[in-house]
Symmetry: C2
Subunit: 467 residues, 2 copies
């Protein structure tokens, strides 16, 4: 292929993307039309210029029942790089439809981490068959990766890396890199190891490039390095990459020996996923993956809704205590959802801030007390303002002074409850090593509902409204 | 400093971190005690071994009124790298306390992007003074960066990069890099430009290292490149880095000329921030920065709470329509919050999933209809199950068949409303170019509150309950 052709390709591909880097709907429709019409050549011409990430998007945007046809039409374009970019659920369905030896062919051409991502979700039976079809080196690498826990550094790392002894010179390193075609090309730093293969330093490629051949590598390398234990959870790995602005990092086994490397491009999607999943967990939407089978989604969401049904019934039973008062003075039933609802809103605000602060390691033991005090002051300010507003409004509309006073006071009380619960519940759960994003919302809204109803109806009863 | 000492440093620093990479509270307390006691030498000994990111954390974890003392005790340890890692609000307060020439000294040693981050939040007056104190080259670079919109690629990019003409050989490039001490060392790829300084290709350093000196750079470079327009929003930049797994990318001006480079480590925190801020926006917590001044936080949150107060009053007015029925049959008031609350929960689940899918570019025009249909099926399944449960429960507890039928039907209806509103509202807002995370929740809970009360109380009235 001539250089000009190569250069023209991205331009052609870009025209299929809108200003948000998304595939245009007309483009997706045109590809699917070609596939439907059996015109595989036309489909190939359209898809071939795309980046693997965009081909993966194309498959995801295709309705589930047409994906097999699309893949059959352009089988060679759906390569390992495309599969590696694909949503887990969509990929799993595609891979299930392939023969084990086809999967093995795809896995063989990928780095360990991408190969593992494709194989790890298969049935044990199919997995074994794929592994048998691989050559011994690849098989050993993938089997070892699969021996580490899911979502650990061991699954995430690639074994392909450059490690050199510390007595080598820069010239030695250059000759080694130029002379070994089998070495990986995907690396940004090289690791310097001692004779027992323990990493003792890291050297960015830019330093090697800028150093004369005669200098020893140990004089250029950086000795402070961030090592990743092989069993570290991927969320911790992501936070460490983020905190220390890493491009790549050495992964070490429990004996401190270098076993792999994680590069930032493998971590970027985890950073985004972990940061984004708090919103899904807090609302009880599970993984919130739009490609998940509907039945699984229903099960996840229903579990959460049933827990909330319990707390809603608890709150209702509080209202039940005041049926007599409500029957005599139905206005109480009209106004009570305002108090509980506003408490819920304020509690959710605090909760969202605290959950994010915990997730980003900004809220630690050192500043928890300060955080509680901060949220209490905010709750007092909000409660006072809202109480004044709703009290004045109630007075103007209904002209009943005690009703105005009661709803204003209930608003202040429930805002304080919301602020306190919004900090204390997630912080306590975090101390107990329970994910605060998953469990906090139920407790916080339970508190604001129950206390909203109780403070408003209770105060009303106390001052003799509805008697 | 000998190698052994250098090697020991990270070990010493690590012992100050707990298993989550956080500074231990005892360590923070020890530093502050030393500062309080005026023992600056002890404070320095403790802090010196830390990574700049950890020193930044230390300042953030220090109560606001003790930060000035801390910084005064160890002024030279709070360098540009530390400031660049610091929370915006905390940094702003520190920088405000410095003399302009001190800020200029710090800015001079940083890459453009980090220098801009420090200077951009200053008063125009102070900014001008800092710029005057810089040498002309640095000043020009920073002034140019400041001329681009906030949160754009122009603010994010560094101007320090390596660009070479395409006719150069690898050997030529190596000699150029080795011979120019003034060049940056922070680069992972070099850019190949034509005579008008337009980028025509990118070359990863690993390819240069593995290629013999005689080969021309244009034969090694990759011609497909992802160019970043200088005025692109940083959120789009982050999505592009993520999608194409970029390590660095060329930034071009409207004429297509290379003006800067963005590296992945500058983007990683934006990816995390953008992914994490949806939860804060959806709950109306603004930026949700725990270092923001309390008064600003109160104002942001109150704005949101007042909007919600409006919708809560609207929902209350729906209840008000049925005061007569409630007075006769107060059980309606007891059960009605269950219907509205459960609808709110279901709506929030759908909303969270849809907002994430939009933010991650997974939900596009091509699959919106499929998404609506998916959520409707889930809503039907959830509504039917919850309706059956609450209907049966109501029958068992109160033994009133019509009440059980009414609450079951209201539950089904409100779940459908929740599912529909949860998709349609954010999708519509996105089409109107309004951030769905900011505005959706108000509308969705308004719908589920109003329709929850209306369907339950309305059906109850229809079948003659409470008459």
């Amino acid at each position: 292929m001539s250089e000009t052709e190569l250069h023209d390709e991205p331009a052609a591909a870009e025209s299929q993307l809108d200003e948000d880097d998304l595939l245009r709907p007309e483009f997706v429709a045109a590809v699917l039309e070609a596939v439907d019409a059996g015109d595989h050549e036309a489909a190939r011409t359209l898809v071939a210029p795309l980046h693997p990430a965009d081909i993966a998007d194309l498959v995801e945007l295709t309705p589930a029942d047409q994906r097999a046809d699309l893949v059959t039409a352009i089988p060679d374009l759906i390569d390992g790089d495309v599969l590696a970019e694909m949503n887990d659920w969509v990929r799993e369905a595609l891979v299930d439809a392939l023969e084990p030896h086809q999967v093995a062919d795809i896995a063989a051409e990928l780095d360990t981490d991408d190969a593992v991502a494709i194989i790890e979700d298969m049935d044990v039976e199919d997995q074994r068959e794929v592994l048998r079809a691989l050559d011994p080196d690849d098989r050993a690498a993938i089997e070892e990766a699969l021996s580490y826990p899911e979502e650990s550094a061991g699954r995430l790392m690639q074994r392909e890396l450059i490690a050199v002894p510390e007595h080598w010179t820069v010239g030695h390193v250059l000759d080694y890199l130029r002379g070994n075609d089998a070495l990986t090309t995907d690396f940004w730093e090289i690791f310097v190891v001692d004779p027992s293969h323990k990493p003792i330093g890291t050297c960015a490629l830019s330093w090697i490039l800028r150093t004369p051949r005669g200098i020893t590598i140990s004089d250029v390398m950086k000795r402070e390095q961030t090592l990743i234990p092989v069993d570290m959870d991927q969320e911790e790995v992501a936070l460490r990459f983020q905190k220390y602005a890493l491009i790549s990092a050495a992964v070490v086994d429990p004996n401190g020996r270098l076993v792999g490397m994680i590069t930032v491009d493998d971590v970027v999607h985890i950073i985004s996923q972990e940061a984004g999943e708090d919103i899904l967990r807090l609302s009880g939407a599970g993984e919130g993956d739009i490609n998940e089978p509907v039945l699984l989604t229903v099960r996840t969401r229903l579990t959460w809704l049933f827990v909330n049904l319990g707390t809603a019934m608890l709150a209702a039973s509080v209202v039940g205590l005041f049926q007599g008062e409500i029957a005599k003075f139905a206005l109480l039933a009209v106004l009570m959802p305002i108090v509980s609802g506003m408490g819920g809103n304020a509690g959710t605000q605090t909760l969202a801030v605290v959950v994010r602060a915990i997730a980003t390691n900004q809220l630690t033991e050192s500043n928890t007390l300060r955080m509680i005090w901060r949220e209490l002051r905010i709750a007092m300010a909000n409660g006072a303002t809202l109480g004044l507003a709703i009290g004045t409004g109630t007075m103007l509309v209904y002209g009943i002074p005690w009703l105005a006073i009661v709803i204003a006071m209930a608003m202040v009380i429930n805002n304080l409850i919301a602020g306190l619960a919004g900090v204390l519940i997630p912080v306590t759960l975090d101390r107990l090593r329970v994910d605060p994003a998953v469990a906090s919302a139920v407790f916080v809204t339970m508190m604001t509902d129950v206390m909203g109803f109780f403070s408003f109806l209770g105060l009303a009863t106390l001052v003799g409204l509805g008697s």
